[in-house]
Symmetry: C2
Subunit: 321 residues, 2 copies
């Protein structure tokens, strides 16, 4: 038995979630999944590479969490109930001091969402983590990017939009923060919380949804393109941490609008469902903030509390225009 086979065993454990949808887990040529009757299977895949999706300084346990979190976030954005995932992992060395805490972080999040690791692959190679997640959603109830309609309100989840980007700027050396503040924003970057419960609560309420992985404006652009609409974003309404709120306004705007790595949900809902959205946030235990609205005219305008236009020089915005 090779070292990599031994390492792979860190990822093989007795089934804990006992999901009836997982008919066969790890150990054969394929896993077998069976969505409940009337449900579709939602599938997403994300590949994480050092230096691009995480820094070499990240603790392996947090990396295991984040690798699964960014995938669960895609299920959340579809309103899908997570069932399982596969993990393919390339490692430079069969290094147990990396794999053990990595698996711990991954399984802690998997257990929190009651999902199973149903298959995988481990190989020697430059560090690369590829996870594919599977969830189920009743036919016709998936939250898509294409459903935003003029008059819909625009909402965002969470209270710390932009913190991940602020942490990245500190790592890059363009900003400095006191130690405790840095730890706060670093945690936002390294251990994002996928908004699975909110995604489920928004079924039948939200008209469209996406998760913020590339920055609010860039990801909103995807929704607007697919929906054939425009939007106004109220930048002053966007929720931010006390740490970010203490930064210069230009930096706040950059982190809030072009940040990325937030893994909050950005979604739209008819204005008449305003109270229903708040109730969904309540049920999910996740803050939701109304931060703009959808217009019929194409384009994306950012305004401040006075209604004045705010310049948005970022590429994620440009490439939508």
């Amino acid at each position: 038995m090779g070292e990599f086979e031994l390492i792979a065993r860190h990822f093989t454990r007795a089934s804990r979630s006992a999901r009836p949808a997982v008919a066969l887990g790890v150990g054969d040529d394929c896993a077998l999944l069976q969505p409940a009757p009337g449900q579709q299977l939602a599938i997403s895949t994300d590949m994480l590479v050092e230096g691009r999706h995480f820094l070499s300084t990240v603790a392996p346990e947090r990396l295991g969490h984040k690798a699964l979190a960014v995938n669960l976030s895609d299920l959340a954005a579809c309103g899908a109930e997570p069932l399982g995932c596969t993990l393919a992992l390339a490692l430079p060395r069969a290094d147990e001091s990396f794999v053990a805490p990595f698996a711990r972080g991954l399984f802690a999040l998997a257990d929190a969402h009651g999902i199973e690791l149903v298959g995988g692959d481990t190989t020697a190679g430059p560090l690369n983590i590829c996870i594919t997640v599977f969830g189920q959603v009743p036919v016709g109830q998936a939250l898509l990017r294409s459903g935003a309609r003029p008059g819909d309100e625009l909402w965002v989840s969470g209270r710390t939009l932009g913190d991940a980007r602020l942490a990245l700027e500190v790592f890059r050396g363009t900003q400095a923060l006191p130690g405790a503040d840095f730890e706060t924003v670093r945690r936002a970057m390294e251990t994002p919380q996928p908004r699975v419960a909110l995604g489920l609560a928004l079924r039948g309420v939200a008209s469209s949804a996406i998760d913020i992985s590339d920055g609010l404006l860039g990801d909103l652009g995807h929704v607007l393109r697919r929906s054939g609409v425009g939007a106004v974003v109220q930048v002053d309404a966007l929720p931010r941490s006390a740490v970010l709120a203490a930064q210069p306004l230009a930096l706040q705007h950059e982190c809030l609008l072009a940040g990325g790595d937030d893994y909050e949900l950005l979604f739209t809902a008819p204005a008449v469902l305003h109270a229903a959205v708040l109730a969904a946030g309540e049920r999910a235990g996740t803050a939701v903030t109304c931060c703009g609205h959808i217009e019929a005219a194409p384009g994306l305008r950012v305004v401040d509390a006075s209604g004045a236009a705010v310049a948005t020089p970022w590429r994620s915005f440009d490439h939508f225009q």
Copy 2:
């Protein structure tokens, strides 16, 4: 729009297979799949890394083929009907001269099996290809590794077992072949044909199945362990190409028994179904060869045509013992 986004567009195209099971393909947070009523979803993932799963000398078109082929081979080994796949790709550079032929090779095989690329991810990073495939199989009909029973016959598909390993040895410089012979075995290594049609034809006939990716003895070991049985392999019965048959017997044995990268199906079936197996091979247009049998006593014996034991020093065998 970044170069990588442009590259990703090589993988986005109008749906061609019009699989009713693919409710939503590329372009949202998740793809949506719906297996037919009474069918389970079979899932497998494989990660390919340069130097380990392919050589830098491989043509990108063949690599695109192989990356999907090794995954489809897992569906074949379960008797599952392919529906779709996701592709996550890390590339050192946004290099269209690589991506265009890679996509061509991948889509040619996808089209041959009528499957859709339903999602993916493209990023900068050391070359890494991670594909996850999805198929469907009627509940209870998946071919598993655990179903081999004493008295079952052992079968292998194809006519060129071991050629991929022979090609690898030439690349490694331990063997030499005339140019035409090298091209023959190189093709076996670089463009394996997943035995999907055979896997489907073997539903209800085979008692267990696995695809040969790590070598016949090693992969047979997985079946024996999961089934709690032993086996006798008739090495002289194993099908081989004229090129391999012209090599010294020790090299033949190594390539046949410990080769790997064959992606043939190794399967068992009750002896009373001998004719049914031959008929399944006929229907699938794939050669099938009876090459041994299953015994109640644990262990794995390799014998020649005279019944004499053949020494098998390879690790894939050892780690089963």
